[in-house]
Amino acid sequence: MTLGPPSSAFRHRHLLGIEGFSPEEITLLLDTAEGHVEPNRQADKKRSLMRGRTIINLFFENSTRTRTSFELAGKRLGADVINMSVSGSSIKKGETMIDTAMTLNAMHPDVLVVRHHESGAVQLLSEKVDCAVINAGDGSHEHPTQALLDALTIRRRKGRLQGLVVAICGDILHSRVARSNIHLLSIMGARVRVVAPRTLLPAEIERLGVEVFHDMRQGLKDADIVMMLRLQTERMHGSFVPSTREYFHFFGLDYEKLAAAKPDALIMHPGPMNRGVEIDSEVADDIDRSVIRQQVEMGVAVRMACLELLARDLGNGPPLP
């Protein structure tokens, strides 16, 4: 694959979702992230690519992992990072999300990293501010940096994405991680399957180019990657599965079901895990198979890459039109 100069290959003002990205853009993001992996393991992790820049982590939904990961990524690039958790404060006083965004915009941040519990909220916010916006998860829509870190993890272990069989299992209906991964993996030429009870599958999901299974053994057959999703009870109105016991029996990942996958299949989970609900504890901790901790490590590198590539195009001139 040939690429132009790196700065011209990523022509997005914001990172709102994976849908619509080209394979070249994804490869550029992954390659850039790869460059951050080793330095992140050194004693001195600090770089100066974003010195003088301000990043605000604006989280309308609680998060520890993603926010910490973005915070570290920004700090390691030398940026000033501010965390704002809005779930409890000004929204309750009647200030709208747009008001909050406009207020922060007036303080001239360079990048806003935004998480919101509603699909499309981050895009709406991005239309109202002058800085770059990264979607750190919006409702059930997209979580692009999660898909990128998953892809980086897979690529480092398998050497490629093209042609791999990836089974995404569990609560697809409520999962932004699933949507972003389906887009990314399809764009990169992997074969994506989804495995779930029918109540946890969104309508016409096959139109996104995936194969649909309702049985773990069939869905995992000869899979290279088994990606488990968290059962998102907090997004559920009403009963989607009768009990966690029944869910684990049919859809929880244990060694018995995993046996259907390839012997060297990797196990992934975006965290936080519900052990004994969607994944057996032993499987989750299996040092040979589970790459769950590597995912967390790659998260920082991927977020550094996203910040870096977006910040490259942030001039000191007037705000973009």
């Binding site: 849908e19 709208t96 999300m97 747009i98 919101h116 509603e118 699909s119 499309g120 909220a121 895009q123 709406l124 919006d138 409702g139 059930s140 829509h141 997209e142 932004r176 949507r179 969104p202 309508a203 016409e204 999901i205 139109r207 996104l208 109105h237």
Partner: protein, 428 residues
């Protein structure tokens, strides 16, 4: 004081009689006095030369939210009246979902009093089926009807409980009243923001199965069968629901329905990029359903087209999609969007006009909606062909929430006459 206007040199369209011919119309004292190829004007008559433009009964919009009382910053009866007049609408019927809701005699009186005081277009109102639109206790339907309520509906909420609906229909039958249902099974629609399917899945929006519509209608049809009450399904939007109503009409049940322009002008792809201005209730449907709505209008299964005018301010629409309010303004776009059905070759012009005037008037048992001697002189003169663009900033409605901004359309009102009085003159 006698007041006469002669409209000459018009192309007369009367969907009630099927009249489509060049001619003149004489209005005296607010009523149509004569219609003919050539009419003599009384000495004191004002003479309006229509220059060959179309003259038809004014539009009867059977589904409008006026936001008064309670949310006058979004719309009030004056701003809505101006919007209606500019759109060729001579009669509008308000939904009772105001604050407070119209569930008492005093509120029906209030609407009537305000309507008289404003005096631009005719304003009527429905009253609530249940107190506070709560879905439980029936309102004083008989008394409310005597006070002037044209029909009964819980507006944008379905009467969900089958027993309450059965009693409402049964009681309505006693007084021969009309019940208007928002046909959507609420438990299937709860939390939903878009029609279930690929679009909602891609956007990560909670979906509403299209079956929620036909399910409520089929249930209601069973209740109509045992009660015999007059039932009207509002804004039907799916092929299955239209089929159910087609079947009910074949069985001669006293059933009618309407749809609104977005359901034949747009499909679910309009919500791409989370355009909250295209968020509706019921939500926009698949292309197949949109085509079924057109077919339903063409074969007469769908009786009427209503604007389903739902003004919302910026604060209610500039929100993430699931939190944003549903509904669009429609009074000023009702006629041009409906004329597209004619321009696209789907419906004859008289059929479009029937759905906009005489059909809703008949459902509501109003005297208008026709060009007939003795009928109220509620008229619209429209240019059938003039191309123009809908522009939200030019809307007279206080709220500008339309998904049709910048849409090219063809045809629109150039003069609106209510009770023999010119209430709008422009464009053209």
């Amino acid at each position: 004081m006698s007041e006469a206007i002669l409209f000459r040199n018009a192309r007369l369209f009367d969907p009630a009689s099927g009249r489509d011919e060049a001619g003149a119309l004489l209005a005296i004292d607010g009523k149509i006095a004569a219609i003919g190829a050539r009419l003599e004007a009384p000495a004191d008559a004002r003479i309006i030369d229509c220059r060959g433009k179309c003259l038809a009964p004014g539009l009867v919009d059977m589904r409008v939210q006026l936001r008064e009382p309670g949310a006058e910053h979004m719309e009030n009866m004056v701003s809505a009246s101006h919007a209606a007049a500019a759109g060729g609408v001579t009669t509008m019927v308000a939904l009772p979902n105001t604050d407070p809701p119209i569930d008492e005699l005093a509120l029906v009186d209030f609407v009537a009093r305000r309507a008289r005081a404003i005096g631009i277009v005719n304003i009527h109102t429905y009253a609530a089926v249940t107190k506070g639109l709560g879905g439980r206790e029936l309102t004083e339907m008989g008394l409310l009807a005597e006070a002037g309520a044209l029909g009964f509906t819980d507006a944008t909420r379905a009467v969900a409980d089958p027993l309450v609906m059965r009693r409402a229909l049964s009681y309505a039958r006693t007084f021969d009243l009309l019940l208007v249902q928002h046909p959507e099974e609420p438990s299937l629609a709860a939390g939903g923001a878009a029609t279930e399917g690929e679009m909602a899945t891609r956007l990560g929006l909670p979906g509403i199965t299209p079956v929620a519509e036909v399910m409520m209608i089929e249930r209601d049809l069973r209740l109509v069968e045992i009660t015999g009450a007059r039932y009207h399904a509002a804004h039907v939007s799916t092929a299955a629901a239209i089929d159910a109503i087609r079947g009910a009409k074949a069985r001669r049940l006293p059933v009618t329905c309407d749809t609104a322009p977005p359901y034949f002008s747009l499909n679910e792809t309009a919500i791409g990029d989370y355009r909250t201005f295209a968020k509706l209730s019921p939500p926009l449907r698949s292309e197949a359903d949109r085509q079924a709505v057109v077919a339903g209008l063409a074969d007469g299964t769908i009786d009427a087209i209503a604007s389903d005018h739902a003004p919302h301010d910026q604060e209610s629409k500039r929100l993430p999609f699931t939190s944003a309010a549903a509904g669009i303004v429609g009074l000023e776009t009702l006629l041009p969007l409906s004329l597209a059905l004619y321009h696209n070759g789907h419906l004859p012009l008289l059929k479009v006009l029937r759905a906009l005037s005489c059909a809703p008037a008949d459902i509501l048992r109003l005297p208008g909606g026709r060009l007939a001697t003795g009928a109220p002189a509620d008229l619209v003169i429209f240019d059938l062909d003039r191309p123009w663009r809908i522009e939200e900033e030019r809307l007279r409605s206080k709220s500008k929430n339309t998904p049709f901004d910048k849409r090219p359309v063809q045809g629109g009102a150039v003069m609106t006459v209510v009770g023999g009085r010119v209430v709008f003159e422009g464009g053209g």
